[in-house]
Point group: C2
Chain length 357, copies 2
């Protein structure tokens, strides 16, 4: 990791951490930290760039250029509570979220960093489980975790574990995706059921007397997006709908492109459990966080083609067209309700659910 060490020729087994929990020495920059990093991260993420334990990962620009002509760079911190939830954990989230932020601009996600802030007293086994989750998703998404950092803070100064993943990828030559590109006539598409992640976290917190069988949709979308771009390189807008939900993404598209977006409530893909939980709690599923859902705005003549490739992909089986872009420079998102009326879908105001990701 960013944290020096050497002797990486010795087998990982030699450097197994003996402590059951993380203590302040594991963030010291010295031997204890090196042992934790080699035991938990280097052995799990398993690549020579990380194993070299230099302070930075280095790649030939010529190699990167094989994937396209532009570098994409992004970052996200993950503070989700609880660390483990149905359908995922902070590790799956930390890799999927950053991979998706790269993929939605048309980039092939390539390399991730992993910087952890650990609360003193965290079980080392929890860290091992989280690292294993990260590596599983990284392999699935075709990315390598190549550099990192480890900090430990005193008990009570952080809540168990926070992870930051930054990511780099290379944007395909043939695409130009931007929130400013929505045009009247375009079709608005999502890749499946909305709000599963938000609902799963709500349930997992057990602060509610609700029980429902909902799993987080947390997953990397790189291969789905690649298939969509193969079918239609001229996709206009594309974003993953995380905090703030689909409503927030659509507001950003509508405002940046100076258009009106009209949704059809009847066409929104919603699980009965999520719909039910939202009704009971007074939440709007359009604002619930997702961690494996994207919103795409595509030219009308490409919509069916894009939907077809999405439905053929595991991450897009329930893909649906949910609305249209209309002329009008008001930047509004309007919902055609199932009862025939219409209402404005504004940006999220206030907080719906803290520490959702």
């Amino acid at each position: 990791m960013n944290d020096r060490a050497s002797e990486s020729l010795q087998p990982a087994a030699h450097r197994r951490v003996r402590d059951a929990t993380v203590n302040l020495a594991h963030g010291s920059g010295g031997r204890a930290m090196r042992d934790l990093i080699e035991d938990v991260f280097v052995s799990t993420f398993d690549n020579p760039t990380l194993a070299a334990l230099e302070d930075q990962a280095v790649f030939a620009l010529a190699e990167l250029a094989r994937h396209g002509d532009r570098l994409a760079f992004t970052t996200d911190s993950y503070v989700v509570d609880p660390l483990f939830f149905p359908g995922g954990d902070i590790g799956t989230l930390a890799v999927s979220g950053t991979v998706n932020d790269l993929a939605v601009c048309g980039a092939t996600p390539l390399y991730l960093s992993c910087a952890v802030v650990i609360e003193e007293g965290l079980a080392v086994d929890i860290l091992r489980r989280v690292a294993a989750s990260m590596q599983r998703v990284a392999l699935d998404a075709g990315v390598a975790i190549v550099t990192g950092d480890t900090k430990v803070v005193e008990r009570g100064c952080a809540d168990k574990l926070f992870i930051n993943t930054a990511g780099i990828g290379v944007v395909r030559r043939d695409v130009s995706i931007s929130a400013r590109n929505a045009r009247a006539g375009d079709v608005v598409i999502v890749n499946g059921y909305l709000g599963d992640h938000g609902a799963a976290i709500l349930m997992a917190r057990q602060q509610l007397a609700l029980e429902a069988d909902v799993e987080s949709d947390c997953c990397p979308l790189g291969s789905l997006i690649a298939a969509m771009l193969d079918a239609c390189p001229e996709i206009h807008c594309l974003r993953d709908a995380t905090r703030g939900g689909v409503a927030t993404v659509l507001n950003e598209f509508a405002q940046s492109s100076n258009v009106t977006i009209r949704l059809r409530e009847a066409d929104l893909p919603l699980r009965e459990q999520v719909k039910g939980a939202c009704e009971i709690l007074g939440l709007d599923p359009l604002y619930l966080a997702n961690e494996g859902k994207l919103v795409a705005v595509v030219p009308a003549d490409a919509a069916e083609r894009v939907l077809a490739v999405m439905r053929a992909h595991p991450a897009g089986r329930e893909a649906a067209a949910i609305g249209r872009v209309e002329a009008g420079d008001d930047g509004l998102v309007v919902m055609q309700t199932v009862f025939g009326g219409q209402r404005i879908v504004d940006m999220l105001v206030g907080e719906q659910l803290p520490r959702i990701c």
Copy 2:
């Protein structure tokens, strides 16, 4: 930031946060978060890439290739306590540290991310001060902060503010720096007084009845290193000596290169105040953290040339040769003491000072 928004054409003044403190809504993904980001970060970091508020920053690879042939990628989280200390704050640290991790591999630092985890209740003005510090150092170092993320956690779930900065830079064509490159005969050089950052943090915590006028050495080293590489492109090893201090870096060099490194205690540049504080507290300044100090291993015939350019640079005025690389595959660092004896300088075991950076 990584956190959507639009309407960036409106002047920043329109989006000033009215709240005096950060609340959970500022991490929601909605309007409050967008306002905080535009007020504090977009207006301060002041560049069109960040202002576009897409989920990622994008750069032409051809532009990057003007700086060299390899991309460098690094990350560090900063959890320093206290947030403000003599000579710097968490913001100066977050930019300097990541810039330095890029510069020490021979890269020109170019772009940084900024991901904050904020404890609910933090004064917005503190965030503004920290952002201003970051931008001041970024301008000094010639980097732009181009993407980011904002999370807010409940009171008691983090200690005020943690910052992660990841960075990308491009490595010069003519250099090949690695911890494995130290050769017998090479000279070990540092760029000035050791341990100032560690000592300044110790004093700032006021847990000690010590008072001494020591400031953190926190500063970006990109231009110093560029001058060193201009003078001697074949610098063998180069690292900044942060957590774990100079002793840890030298141990890593000695072990990775399978050599012995012999230091001369009399040649170590130490301020009287730092030396005094270490004697009273039983600390070894070789293990104290620095945030603007590098350790270089250079071929003997280039040592004077390198020292001369360092001493001509503001960040290298007290540069000194502190030892030599010797044949011997023991990977040891040995100190020739002022009394004529010698002792092994091992890696840091345990924790010297938590949350130093």
